[in-house]
Amino acid sequence: MAGSGTAHLRGEEALLSVRDLVVEYPTKGGVVQAVSKVSFDVLPGETLGIVGESGCGKSTTGRAVLRLDRLTAGQIDFAGERIDEASGKRMRELRRSIQMIFQDPVASLNPRRSVKDIVVEGLAVTGAPAAERASTSSSILEQVGLGSERFADMMPRQLSGGQAQRVAIGRALALHPQLLICDEPVSALDVSVQAQILNLIEELKAQFNLTVVFIAHDLGVVRAVSDDVLVMYLGKVCEFGDADMVYDQPAHPYTRALLDSVPLTDAERGFTGPALEGDLPSPLSPPTGCRFRTRCPRAEERCAAEEPEIQEIRPGQYAACHFPLSLGATVTLAPAAEEPAAESTPETTSETEAAAVPAAAAEPAATVEPAATIEARTDPVAVPAALEKPAPTDESAAGAKSAPLEKPAPAEKPAPAEKPSPAEKPAPVEEPVPAAKSVPAEAAVPAAAVATAAVVEKSESAGEAAAATTSEPAASAEDVVPAEDVVPAAPAATAEAAKPAAAAAEPVKSEPAKSDI
């Protein structure tokens, strides 16, 4: 888990590339490294999903790209420009091309301004004339599904969560950004509304030629929108790859465990696999070597001694693990998943809870396939070990070996069921991966950049003040509790990200407006 390394990077054509990003927060207990040497690339036109549990650094990563948090180290390139060392002034211009939407939709909107003004606050900062702002405002509101007259004059507190998120999306898109960072955009919303917002993001992505970084903890949501997925744990990258491959054939034990922990809307099977033991370790003193090893059923001494580098497990799929799950090993885990499928889940886990960690993995495997192999019986621990084969080259052998194991088990999961062919290695997923990634080659760039460049001068002084007071120091002060995604910090920063000058310039003006509430 503890992955560092660059094997998974895609090089030059990326719109956004992040290299060895480190973000640290000082706390009373010491320095927390919320993001630790994370690297990734986002190609133009694609959606990168970042998943992980709280404290894994996914939000911090998103905020770091906008420089809402101070980077400790690392390099960030956007459209060929290094933004990790760009000046505050240049950053304000760049933020027109990189917009963000946040988790708490109501809190991320200025409570004293009406919907129609909020949507074009970014344009106001660029000095766009009032007439242009008004027309943009109504067309954007139309596009985010709030075309009705009555919304235009509403205040944020009068909106439902879904409507407020639509306004936030509209505000981001009014500047015609190239890159949209969505930080848990639907986790505060109900299921029925969540689907509306996800569809809206997908539609607008096509319409505006957007590249999207989609940060969420909900694996189902991420699957629905992502081309590639980055799985993080405790500030490190675990796994990266094409979304279908990562979900159907996870290579990292943590990804597997995450997927197994997602409750299913299926009365027969509570979960797809066994539970993960233990709690997240303290980010103040993360485990040595692989950070996941304290909870990993496959951990060995090597995992404590040496941090795994990211390596290619299968074409297009990368994991930072000394003992990645090969296709064959995935199969041995699958039968274990079927056992608890019957209502016996709680009992099974209760036993494993007490048992030593490695035994937990070995035991179900042994019970499921007693007839299959003799070795499995005599030495259950040897089975996973034999199938582990970290080197991708051994995979066909592992696959061939596991094929007979898999047959007797009821083919419950559709995905593994298709795989048993021994020749699986070269083409495990039929999909033409690279093709999917090539995407609209012509990054829709300049219009916004040009438009904004012209007005930079104007907004400068006001913007300076706003940015100085809010974005940097405020962020560091509030983020003293870092490992969590600090929600309160987000709204303040949002306002800034979208319209640096507006916040500073407007309060005086909007004071009287308040009285008509």
Binding site: S54, N199, V262, T265, T349
Partner: protein, 337 residues
Amino acid sequence: MSTEPVLQVRNLRAYIGTPRGVVRAVDDVSLDLDRGHALGVVGESGSGKSVMARAIMGLMPGRSGCSGQVLFEGRDLLTLPRKQRAEIWGKHIAMVFQDPGRSLNPVVRVERQLTEGMRKHLGVSRTEAHGRALDLLQEVGVPDPEKRLRNYPHELSGGMRQRVMIATALACRPTLLIADEPTTALDVTVQRQILDLLRRVQRSHGMSMILISHDLAIVAGRTDRTAVMYAGKLAESGATREVFDAPRHRYTHALLEATPTIDHERHAPMRLITGSLPDPTAPPPGCRFAARCSHADAACSDPGPQMVSIGTDHEVACLSPVQTSTEQITGGELVGR
């Protein structure tokens, strides 16, 4: 053991006065819970599921807003004098709340919070309570219980706090456990642990449980029966397997379709439910889902649906329920084939 349901809720209404009018949070809900069974209550925010739980516990401020009956082992909790209700709380009915950080007392050590109930209700000595507390923490999977007993809640992680909450709820071996969104504040791997734990203790204690969640999937694999609420009303209830395998109410069906799953096809549009919840202070007549339902007609608003039995162990309040392959609708009547 009697076959009478542990809990019978009859025509429960909970109206809350607000400056904007009376919110009909729970409007005429009836349901039964059998001994040793787990009932899942699902619904989106505003469906009234949490208010219902509080109304059942008698935790609504100024009970004036509640009417109907909540029969717990034959006694109506709504009319029971406060002193007798206090006897029931903790001892016979216990509750686990969403946010374990806020429902534990921050300035009291774990041990006292765990043992308070049993010292009061069961009258056990301090040493015995200590021993029982250790057993309880062991049971809910808290490592190093002796040390944890001396901790304050802030020294525990979210998952550990929720385990302590559950241990506290179990302290007096209650007949009924109400868990209101017990895992919403937790990460997915920890949520998994807590859900497994709840189901395990519910079974091993022969306890009845109400598991409330906005997430259909949380209820799916871990309950015997499921009730779906929408805007204060019961839309559908029945055996969990029935409700999830063959949802009959249009709302349940749409909600299941709208839930993103981990095998969702990439970039495939989500099925969605258009519109939003009706105004809770002035709900529309008849079916409250009618305005968002693609199968609604005039009859849905007037006279509106009644809860009717459909199939085995399955009730639904819908005039044009989702058809299953073995049935067809003739003149509004459902005929089994």
